[in-house]
């Protein structure tokens, strides 16, 4: 399973800015709501999170130490 951005549905206003900015077909608008499409093309650039005006998209990171 590919880790994808998370949508907080109750905050999404369907503006579509995230769909516009995504160059990897990872997001679509369905019934005026942003929906994440799981795809290996997503490189987790976090542009969708940056452009969202309502904070409805989260791209959380794990912080780990490299195992030697």
């Amino acid at each position: 399973m590919v880790q994808m951005p998370e949508i907080i549905r109750e905050l999404c206003n369907g503006c579509g800015l995230c769909v516009t900015v995504c160059s990897h077909n990872g997001l679509v608008l369905i019934n005026n709501m942003a929906v994440v499409i799981e795809t290996v093309e997503c490189d987790y650039c976090t542009l969708c999170e940056a452009v969202c005006p309502t904070g409805a998209i989260r791209c959380p990171f794990e912080i780990v130490v490299e195992e030697c």
Binding site: I8, Y44, C59, P60, F61, E62, I63, V64, V65
Partner: protein
């Protein structure tokens, strides 16, 4: 759900109490749950309840008039929040919100007074907890006053990754990291790229991998 005595026993507040004392305290504890982004308390409102995180993580934060957020602490299982207003009678110092689904135990201000009266050991424990809290805030002030943004981000990464024994470390968005280190989201992004160029970290999609902790420590040491 019944309050878990083993959890109470494991918290710094109730360290050193025996089973009978914990049973007595347990009757004063209530459980509360919250979902992600749900506010648990609001800055400025009367401080009526002391909370402990049982499961999940809570962010303690202040918000400026312009809506900018500064996270003061991320509270994890076993830790308490809203201590100060419960003890000094003032309003809530900060707001608190769930970072995901959380389970909390709460004790009212009145009942905390009863516990402190009946079990003086708890007062000693509270002093130690608040002393530790002072150290944390002194360190935060030092970071915000004397460290540049990339140093603050490097310190955050080191502390987050090194606290491996602490459970429930929530994954962090760049916005949350920005709120923790007192900067804008864009500056966190730039700092992460700069640290990656230095070879200190590697960004592997949703994972920030610390590959040269010494380089990070040297970056942390860079002051304004």
């Amino acid at each position: 759900m019944s309050v878990d005595i083993e959890f109470l026993k494991s918290t710094p507040y109730f360290s050193g109490l025996d089973a009978a004392q914990l049973e007595s305290i347990k009757r004063l504890v209530f459980e509360r749950t919250a979902q992600r982004n749900e506010f648990i308390l609001d800055e400025g409102e009367p401080g009526e309840v002391l909370y402990f995180v049982v499961l999940g993580a809570v962010k303690d934060f202040k918000t400026s008039a312009e809506g900018k957020e500064q996270i003061l602490r991320i509270i994890r299982p076993g830790e308490s929040f809203n201590d100060v207003p419960v003890f000094d009678g003032g309003p809530n110092m900060a707001s608190a919100a769930a970072m995901g689904p959380v389970v909390l135990y709460g004790i009212s201000k009145t009942d905390i007074g009863i516990i402190l009266r009946d079990y003086p050991q708890v007062a000693t424990n509270v002093i130690k907890v608040l002393a530790g809290r002072m150290r944390h805030f002194a360190s935060l002030v030092e970071d915000l006053s004397f460290r540049n943004v990339i140093s603050r981000v490097a310190k955050l990464l080191l502390e987050y990754a090194e606290n491996r024994k602490k459970p429930e470390r929530p994954r962090l968005t760049q916005q949350e990291m920005a709120a923790m280190v007192g900067t804008a989201r864009e500056m966190v992004g730039r700092s992460l790229r700069a640290l990656e160029e230095k070879g200190a970290i590697k960004i592997d999609r949703h994972r920030i991998v610390l590959i040269d902790k010494q380089a990070l420590r040297e970056t942390v040491g860079e002051l304004l």
